[in-house]
Amino acid sequence: MKRFTGVRILTQGMLDCDVGIFIGEGICREAAPYLGEGSYLFFPDSENYILSMALGMAIGTDKRVFLFCEDNYMLRNISELMQVGIAKPRNFFLILFTSGEYPGVPDTPNIFSSANSRHGMLYELGFIVHDYKNQFKFSKNPITFVRQTWDRVRGPLAVVMVTTRGTKEFPSVKFSGRREILKTRKFILDESIIGHNYVPPINLEELVIGE
């Protein structure tokens, strides 16, 4: 499956009450045309530790937090994955596109492509791991399938998508700035937008000062 096809399907699997974070220019470009009314942040590949930021966001809200990134980004920040796996936020969803090669340089395999078990590694770190390769092959409507699956599953979920390079051109996208971050903050704090039946691991609002 081409990466842009995977991004299109999984992006549309999100609901309007979800928060999406996209890392890497390629993924940002491919996702932007298909986004709904939720709140979305775009970051360049060079911005590190976004996984931890997403974890912090997931801890503080009952809205689902989706993080779309490539295997290269995950390899650079692998210690954060363990932090997420141990914290077990039920509203954290990691969508991982694994091409097995470095971005922008064709036919240069990265070490993730040589891993014995990509799924097993993520599972051992504490994630629930999904791979929709077969479902997408036979499902008539993969978007509905993804929505129905994500309706029931609890995080931390890692969706591993094995993808190949595509040649389709997408319009450029502006990376998020302070304005977009404040917009996301407002979106998260907006109580009229109800989170999707998920309970955050720690309800910070209910912490009561002891006597």
């Binding site: 530790y49 801890i59 000062i209």
Partner: protein, 123 residues
């Protein structure tokens, strides 16, 4: 003393989320943490703690990072300065370019006013 500090920072200043890496200078703070009024997550390393606190701020909660002052130089704060995300550091005595004070009220008002990271020195 340490218990009073936690009560003050959680009750008066409404900080609820803390993360960081333990170090000997503020060991008594770790011993007196109270799960009824705060939540603490030990981080794998300093930058993870900073970014987790940043994410919690985006979710609308005030958060602080407990960090060894000697490791503060290696912390990547470019995101916080670029996007003007405030952050409170609780460390031991330190000389730093960041706003530093032993008065919690002063540090908190500086953070709120300038949307920048600042350091509270705990003695």
């Amino acid at each position: 003393m340490a218990k009073d500090f936690w009560r003050r920072i959680c009750e008066d200043f409404d900080y609820r989320f803390f993360c960081g890496i333990p170090f000997p200078d503020i060991a008594n703070l770790y011993k007196t943490m109270n799960a009824d009024m705060m939540h603490y997550i030990p981080a794998a390393h300093e930058n993870i703690a900073v970014k987790m606190a940043t994410g919690t701020w985006i979710s609308g909660f005030k958060s602080a990072v407990l960090l060894d002052q000697r490791k503060l130089e290696s912390v990547d704060l470019s995101f916080n300065f670029k996007y003007k995300v405030p952050l409170l550091f609780i460390t031991g005595p330190i000389k730093s370019d960041l706003f530093t004070s032993e008065d919690l009220e002063e540090v908190d008002s500086h953070i709120t006013k300038h949307n920048k990271p600042a350091i509270f020195v705990y003695k």
